[in-house]
């Protein structure tokens, strides 16, 4: 399982691992019931500490994206599609918010932004 982690990323390592796995679940690359590597195995593969991967798995459990069965390991949870869809939307919203904040900071007017958005939408969608 390849998880992109980078030293130049300002986010803590556990968050990068958490996001990496979450992403694989949201995009369907990992399906419900799929086994995840053990915390220790993943730490070895990524050359991170055990505590770091443990924290990432803990966050995934908190969001009910994975379940851990004692003695058996961790698996992708039987999530419901609606929940995943709403999480994906929340993610997109967040990215939009970021773009808008950035635009505001650079003095781009609301109107300009709307135009830009429409233009890109036409090109891409």
């Amino acid at each position: 399982m390849f998880i992109p982690i980078s030293n130049n990323d300002p986010r803590p390592l556990y968050e990068q691992i958490f996001e990496g796995i979450k992403n694989k679940i949201l995009t369907g690359e990992l399906a419900p019931g799929d086994a995840l590597p053990s915390i220790r195995q993943l730490a070895q593969d990524l050359k991170t500490s055990v505590i770091t991967t443990k924290r990432a798995y803990f966050e995934l459990e908190q969001q009910k994206l994975i379940v851990t069965r004692p003695g058996k390991g961790s698996f992708v949870a039987d999530y419901d599609a609606d929940k995943i869809a709403s999480m994906q939307r929340a993610e997109i919203e967040q990215q939009m918010r970021k773009t808008i904040t950035e635009a505001k900071k650079n003095g781009v007017l609301k109107k300009e932004l709307e135009e830009m958005f429409r233009k890109i939408l036409e090109e891409e969608y």
Partner: protein
């Protein structure tokens, strides 16, 4: 979950140097990096853990037992690698393995052969003809061949190239796949420890500065840099301030509360590395 290593209020005084009130706790299943400048007391601490020198006071428990009272059964379960492994230089790796094996009740010849093969070392090689890196790997193979549960490594990576250091990290990660195992590993090459250690203990002039989860430190501590003319405003909230002709830098433990108390717009706030922490917290202010 028990502790594999506990050092409690350990003291040792020499003529010109003293270890004072050393406290270290390493739970089973984890790796602790032990960092500090040269002469800070790393090797002395490790020698006390290994009962190679006598402590003045305090207690050391390994596998939950006193390290002096149960020295033999404890050492039977420890793999120890010294910075400069001592071998009989004119003899072969194979002979060295046979010799070392006699001291351990759980010596596993097959395991030793496996490890040598993995590290690309031949039994027929003469010790003095081995490179520094191969010598270290031989010492590791010896340390890993009697089914140890705790590895104690004193500066295993100093003087080794990045390729071999990386291999070593892999070996250590492999070792703690077993949750009953633990690694205590001193180094002044902090980048190695920064990758794989779960806990960091920093020692300076014979005293422990902190002993903490690595992620807690690296995720919350920040390195702050600014113009030297403005230092008065910040200096009370910075640890280990360093001042140059133009700028200052220091470590902040809790960046959010720092931001709430100061105007940070003219400051640079960076992720810290263990090197930054070592440099700032172990040197005296200029």
């Amino acid at each position: 979950m028990g502790n594999i290593l506990e050092v409690i209020n350990l003291n040792k005084r020499f003529n010109s140097f003293a270890l004072s009130d050393i406290n270290i706790t390493l739970p089973k299943g984890y790796i602790m990096g032990f960092i500090g400048a040269n002469g800070a007391g790393k090797t002395t601490t490790i020698k006390l853990i290994m009962n190679m020198i006598r402590r003045d006071s305090g207690k050391i428990n390994i596998f939950g037992k006193d390290n002096i009272k149960y020295e033999i059964p404890i050492k039977n379960k420890i793999g120890y690698v010294h910075e400069q492994p001592i071998f009989y230089d004119d003899l072969t790796v194979g002979w060295t393995g046979n010799f070392a094996g006699k001291f351990y009740s759980d010596w596993d010849d097959e395991r030793f052969n496996e490890l040598l093969e993995k590290f690309c070392i031949k039994k027929s090689q003469i010790v003095k003809q081995l490179s520094k890196g191969t010598k270290m790997k031989t010492a590791l193979a010896l340390a890993l061949s009697h089914k140890p549960e705790l590895l104690i490594l004193d500066e295993p990576t100093s003087g080794l190239d990045p390729v071999i250091r990386d291999e070593l990290l892999d070996i250590l990660m492999e070792f703690i796949q077993n949750e009953e195992h633990g690694v205590f590993f001193s180094s002044h090459i902090t980048s190695d420890i920064e990758k794989i250690a779960d806990y960091i203990t920093l020692i300076n002039e014979g005293r422990i500065i902190f002993s903490e989860e690595k992620d807690k430190i690296l995720n919350s501590w920040k390195l702050v840099k600014g113009d030297v003319r403005k230092i008065e405003e910040y200096k009370d909230d910075l640890m280990g301030i360093k001042i140059s002709r133009t700028g200052f830098s220091g470590i902040v433990e809790d960046i959010e509360s720092f931001k709430s108390r100061h105007d940070v717009s003219s400051l640079v706030i960076d992720k810290t590395t263990l090197d930054d922490i070592l440099i700032h917290l172990t040197k005296k202010e200029n």
